[in-house]
Subunit: 218 residues, 2 copies
Amino acid sequence: MDISIERSILEANDSVAEELKKLFAEHKVLVLNLISSPGSGKTSLLEKTLSDLREEFKMGVIEGDCQTDNDAKRVAATGAKAVQINTDGGCHLDSKMVRDVIKNFDLSELDILFIENVGNLVCPVEFDCGEDAKIALLSAAEGDDKPEKYPRLFQLAHAMIINKVDLLDYVDFDVAKAAKFGKALNKDIEVFEVSCRTKQGLDSWYAWLRKQVALKQQ
Amino acid sequence: MDISIERSILEANDSVAEELKKLFAEHKVLVLNLISSPGSGKTSLLEKTLSDLREEFKMGVIEGDCQTDNDAKRVAATGAKAVQINTDGGCHLDSKMVRDVIKNFDLSELDILFIENVGNLVCPVEFDCGEDAKIALLSAAEGDDKPEKYPRLFQLAHAMIINKVDLLDYVDFDVAKAAKFGKALNKDIEVFEVSCRTKQGLDSWYAWLRKQVALKQQ
């Protein structure tokens, strides 16, 4: 693509993202943009988090998918408000899509808004959706070299969640190596090892979430 | 993105892809474009295929990655010629990138050229690289709903390879359901269930490859 076109698209996106950041700051809503390959477990992580913390926080979800509202239905089954964006084949969410659906939420009622991006380790990374932090997910079935091969997400993310650690006995995945690649790209990245299936490690993720909400609501 | 810009990018891509198709037809080289999420096992499938069929076919590989030449090294270790394209963060290969590296191969010496695309279920689908067929890979750890959620690839692919079936006992993945979604999108798609780890199912894939080479060399 012509670089000047690409730049103007990203500048337009950033300008709307700034509007959103002000709106979210005003209402002290923590906004987290979940980014991963298809099938790393973003929706499973949300299902667990929304169920386990439902007494503690008021949470909403924007679900991004190329097609179907399967994920919004899964998430809504926990009782949380979920709004689906179908990109109709588009490879990422952008700030305008988020702005278009934000009126469906009463922000004064929310502590956390999760944005589940389209499953894609590349394109969503460049499009700020007004979030406080990007959260990178990686499944233990995907290979420990993913931070090295798709570095941009891990450079920008505040947390890296290695999911499906219940599969570690059956796959060639070195958790220490993946974490080392992540930390080499971004020394401040928090690394969590979890299994949404067995619930292993979710408590550390919840503790981190509590800290981020407290910081946002200061 | 402005639709007219997008159209002109795709038209320019198609025009170079046509040039490549003529070149590949002239040399009777079967060209297969492997597309999947990051970590579905494209490189593992190539390692097995290149090793197991090395006496039978002359094969080359174009490796696409955002960063690193890890995959080209893995593939070259089988003895096959491999050329790496680093997209420097770009989310797909295109026909111009393929044209730029094709001079590294002696096409008159090749039976099969594999193009391993950037790990991404969305963007690579629209960019024809001059291939005879797109091959969709899906790992059993990714979820059986992927054809439904990312339909475009499965509509266009000639084959759908469900890899990592050795994990089926440990994940919630219904092979019949995934195959049914694939077939609903594209009744002619061939479905293979394989494990590159245990070599289960690879023989059917090899039989299909032999048939495609024979058709191309008629």
